[in-house]
Symmetry: C2
Subunit: 340 residues, 2 copies
């Protein structure tokens, strides 16, 4: 059943039926009701491919996930972010086009998207230092929003959390508890967020004239095993840390495993603070927070990012939107005074 058939069955023109269905005013209320009823009865839904061609809008937003071959940076995070964004897209009538491409082909993927009109805008996640995607998308004229930021953070749209401030605060918290040998287990420092976190960490130490110890700093993809192996190595080495600051709950779980195997009790023998993205399947709050954590819901970020991007798509001349979210520090059972 298409528009023409529906119109014929109603003895109306396709024009009128289209207008009735889309809420235009030039149609009598009674006619509109007739049309609506007939459409519903016939289980009619306008062909979305034809509509997209006719309107010139794709009503689709693209998320391009670069596949790196290693544990995808995106993986632990992107599911929740996607769900948050997807909720908003659905509510606003946008489709979500998810594109997995080898990292080397992301530029081609974006060029393709811009040229073939598959999407009205794209979401950019996990920017790296001087991320080429930002310049490229600007050049292509495709509306985009960056979750995170990089470079001077000027002239493009982004939403980010205050990573540096969060990690500075977390470090101060550990220092106040008397810890001096604090380890940092970070995400890959090609990513901007990880660099900022490290800087927050280092600044807090520097402010108290405490040297950052290279053997107590590590960074890589945020997997449980990386957290485990790193913590194990540090704990077994000379001058082991008394506290860990780690960039995700997943890493923290690895740290907990290493500590547990060595008979170290978290919050007593050893302290751990992590960044908690509030992943739905890793709730840190049941029975009081297990980990002391800087926290910020990645799903909420996804929702807000979607809202902003849709605003930008609807208002092409909108000035850049930049939003910085502050981060809570929640005290849990994984931290305590420095022993000894």
């Amino acid at each position: 059943m298409n528009l023409k058939e529906l119109a014929d069955s109603l003895k109306l023109s396709p024009t009128t039926v289209s207008r009735a269905l889309n809420g235009y005013p030039e149609v009598r209320e009674e006619t509109r009701n007739r049309v609506m009823a007939a459409a519903k009865a016939a289980n009619y839904a306008p062909n979305i491919r034809a509509r997209r061609l006719a309107t010139g809008r794709a009503m689709t937003i693209g998320h391009v996930i670069p596949l790196t071959g290693r544990a995808e940076m995106v993986n632990p995070i992107f599911a929740d972010f996607l769900i948050g964004a997807g909720e908003v897209y659905a509510a606003e009538g946008y489709d979500l086009l998810l594109s997995m491409v080898p990292e080397t082909e992301t530029e081609a993927a974006f060029r393709q998207m811009a040229a073939n009109g598959a999407v009205d805008g794209v979401m950019v996640q996990a920017p790296q230092e001087n991320d080429p995607r930002i310049g490229l998308l600007t050049e292509l004229g495709l509306p985009f929003l960056v979750h995170g930021r990089t470079g001077d953070a000027q002239g493009y749209n982004w939403l980010d959390i205050a990573n540096m401030r969060a990690f500075r605060r977390a470090t101060d918290f550990l220092l106040d508890l008397g810890h001096r040998r604090i380890a940092l287990i970070n995400g890959q420092e090609t990513f901007d967020f990880a660099r900022r976190r490290r800087r927050g960490f280092e600044e807090a130490l520097a402010a108290r004239d405490i040297p950052a110890l290279p053997h107590l700093m590590a960074s890589d993809a945020m997997t449980e095993s990386f957290g485990y192996l790193t913590a194990a190595r540090m704990l077994d080495g000379p001058n082991p840390p008394t506290a860990f600051l780690v960039s995700s709950v997943i890493l923290a779980i690895g740290v907990r495993r290493a500590a547990g195997e060595r008979g170290l009790r978290m919050g007593r023998d050893i302290s751990v603070i992590c960044h908690d993205d509030e992943l739905s399947y890793l709730n840190n709050d049941v029975g009081g927070p297990a980990f002391t954590a800087t926290r910020s819901s990645i799903r909420a970020a996804g929702r807000r990012c979607a809202e902003i991007l849709i605003t930008l798509i609807r208002n092409p001349d909108h000035p850049p939107i930049q939003e910085l979210w502050d981060v809570d520090l929640t005290v849990g059972r994984s931290t305590g005074p420095c022993p000894g």
Copy 2:
């Protein structure tokens, strides 16, 4: 730049340019090369919306994720599955349309998709008992593939792992080690996979005349905290289990936390077997498997599911494809003989 302009610039008809670009034989090799070169030089990409309308194919596959409000069942699993499927889609030229809808609206979402022609087929995940989606999609005539299966598993396309066999084998393994009080921490038993796993568990016990103990069986969304709370409750209660069989690594991490807090060493004081989906950020293999586990890569399943679905879309009259994957049991450090 559109096809007509490109054709004009080449002094050819749109027909010929279209054919040249799409690899049809009725065009001289020399002409084809000229067209290709011009297209590349002009950075031309055919408008995908127009192409979709003209061909009648969406070249898009839909994944509908029902939002339940609680920790989405899909969440821990679906990211890896999606990545696997997405790789194949990208390679085959299909787009992935991801649709998050409140659970109550999934039927409407499918009807919409079928009527408006947004997708050529859909992937169905995590089927429940007598899942209404199967009947609905059959009725709508939309090609679909179920990851998992339900009911009599007849007459529709699915790919599943041998859940029952896996859990029966895992239970036998624990029984052989001398364990008699074995706890089952399962996913929500509205899902078919969880029911099968429970049956495997129960059959193994029944085969040795060991009663299944209701207070040692629990099922809910597979979050870390559910694993933790349940294990804690069981361990603190009367007749605590000496072994746990759990439905995911995430649950197992919760169990490990509960055990750790009680000073119980895994593999010595207590045994744990889990099902390992080989999530990329929860690698169980680093330094030898931490958990004894039944394992099957969810990402590989995603890849294969995508392949099958594409086959079905390309061959509408293909007889049902049903694929059952066997599951390995990997022995790790989390199991040992029953103490005492």
